[in-house]
Subunit: 314 residues, 2 copies
């Protein structure tokens, strides 16, 4: 039995994960950022004890705890170096949690943990090497090689959402120009769709968002395209071109067996992955001599974080 | 004592490398591609024996042999999967060489081997993590993490020269659009310089290549810029912008301690690296919370391949 903690901006989700990677107990607490981190960690520890009690278990029966956290993580030292979501800097969360729960505790970036979850029990089950790209507000990434999280060399993390696919392109929230995040996040999809809908008053996308472009969501351009709306098809084609470029960059770097797409946009499943596979295969170096990864959508959804975090425990 | 073999399109360079990573014996044979690979490998073996004899040594005193080869390498199986330079496909070179030389033999991609050489004895000596980008006809890359070659997951290699920095940009020789190679290789620099010189008849670059743009070389735009030639300065600024974009992509992926630039363009040394450092520092994710690699030029030049190959032997 292992314990996975998935820290999010709104809530902290905890789960008891068995050998079959099933979540057999859960508890969630709010991410209260009005209190010092020490207090939030104490609440996490209390919740863990509560969850164990609910399951009729004790901490001694638990092999260890894994934490997935947003931000830049120093996994070796167990420190959250910087988290924009939490407004935290240099928080020694592992040491702090150990004060309350005396077991082995590991930490990783939340996208890394989710990628590990998908490899252990999700869309890349059975694979040794996989890359997860989450297409949400931003583009998060997690790279798994030999069934372990790839962290690169020095602290700072492997941030594939912040590889530029246009040296002089759209400005990203990180300050750089042309980041994949600025072109292939769900937010970028909305931007492209809003622009296209505004240019094309005849597009059904306008109707679909009740003529209020603020109501645009990530499903509308896909639905419009499916209904044969030309502007909608253009949006999807443009978006998939950007995403394919990012995926091919990932393949030419990591040669994973699978590229897993997560986040809101991934709800489109084959509708999204089928055209991407076509686009990507001609962009990978080495042609038939190089391995071209399969492209799939995440299978675990929000549980990937808990299951992956639990699998940080060795 | 170890033995390094650096296979090139024109010649195969071999060296005896001591514990201090000095090359204490050398021999070179032409890369004769008119004969079957078995025959070329036999010549390589003969040359190795000759080199050992010249040094008054025997194969038994040699810890092993490392080979650096261009192309897509399956290091585990010791096979050159595909080399465009050699016109080879699925050549089991390690097995073939072992028929003649009964020692441990390892193989790696030549840029990987050169990167390893720079980490063991060159521009990144003392570093654990470094990335080499060679700016020549193409852009080769070698990634070293924890003092070992990073090969990614499946065969096909980590080809950082073929990460697109412009999803809809210049067509690369690999077929893809916008590859770093199409923007930051020495060949790309010549293309940019030729175009600019043609647009600006007043530019001193025209004079420097005797009004024959075919005579353009990688030094001319740098010399012109240094002399205050506006068109020359524009060429360098444009080229460095592309290269900085590629380097920042490398840093956001691998977080190396050093990015080493090799190949012809790297002869510019600080002239090249100083402005790049300025450009890159604002492009790296995490700002002051992430590690930003130093940018240096290669120190070993052509010897990096031999020294790195020798250090493949464990």
């Amino acid at each position: 039995m292992k314990l996975g903690i998935d820290m999010g901006g709104m809530s902290i989700k905890m789960g008891l994960v068995n050998e079959e990677n099933e979540i057999i107990g859960r508890i969630t607490i709010p991410t209260d950022l009005t209190v010092p981190y020490q207090m939030l960690v104490e609440r996490m520890a209390d919740a863990v004890q509560q969850m164990l009690e609910n399951a009729g278990m004790t901490l001694e029966q638990c092999e260890g705890i894994g934490i997935g956290s947003p931000g830049t993580i120093d996994a070796k030292r167990g420190v959250i170096l910087y988290s924009n979501n939490f407004g935290w800097e240099n928080v020694p969360i592992v040491e702090e949690l150990k004060k309350h729960l005396d077991v082995g505790i590991e930490i990783a970036n939340d996208a890394d943990a989710a990628a590990l979850g998908e490899v252990y029990a999700g869309a890349a089950e059975g694979a040794e090497n996989a890359v997860l790209l989450t297409l949400g507000t931003g583009v998060g990434s997690g790279v798994i090689l030999d069934k372990k999280i790839f962290r690169g060399g020095m602290p700072g993390g492997c941030e594939l959402g912040h590889l530029s696919i246009h040296h002089d392109g759209v400005r990203c929230t990180c300050g750089r120009k042309g980041c994949l995040e600025a072109y292939a996040s769900a937010s970028a999809l909305l931007r492209i769709a809003r622009e296209k809908a505004a240019e094309h008053p005849e597009s059904v996308m306008n109707e679909m968002c009740k003529n209020d472009l603020e109501q645009m969501n990530g499903k509308i351009p896909f639905d419009a395209a499916k209904a044969g709306d030309e502007a909608g098809m253009e949006v999807i084609k443009e978006y998939e071109g950007y995403l394919a470029c990012g995926i091919a960059n990932v393949i030419n770097t990591f040669r994973p067996e699978k590229v897993i797409l997560g986040g809101g946009v991934a709800a489109q499943k084959e509708n999204l992955t089928a055209p991407l596979k076509d686009l990507v295969k001609d962009m990978c170096f080495g042609g038939s001599h190089g391995y071209i990864a399969d492209i799939v959508t995440s299978a675990l959804g929000n549980d990937a974080g808990i299951i992956g975090a639990a699998n940080l425990v060795v």
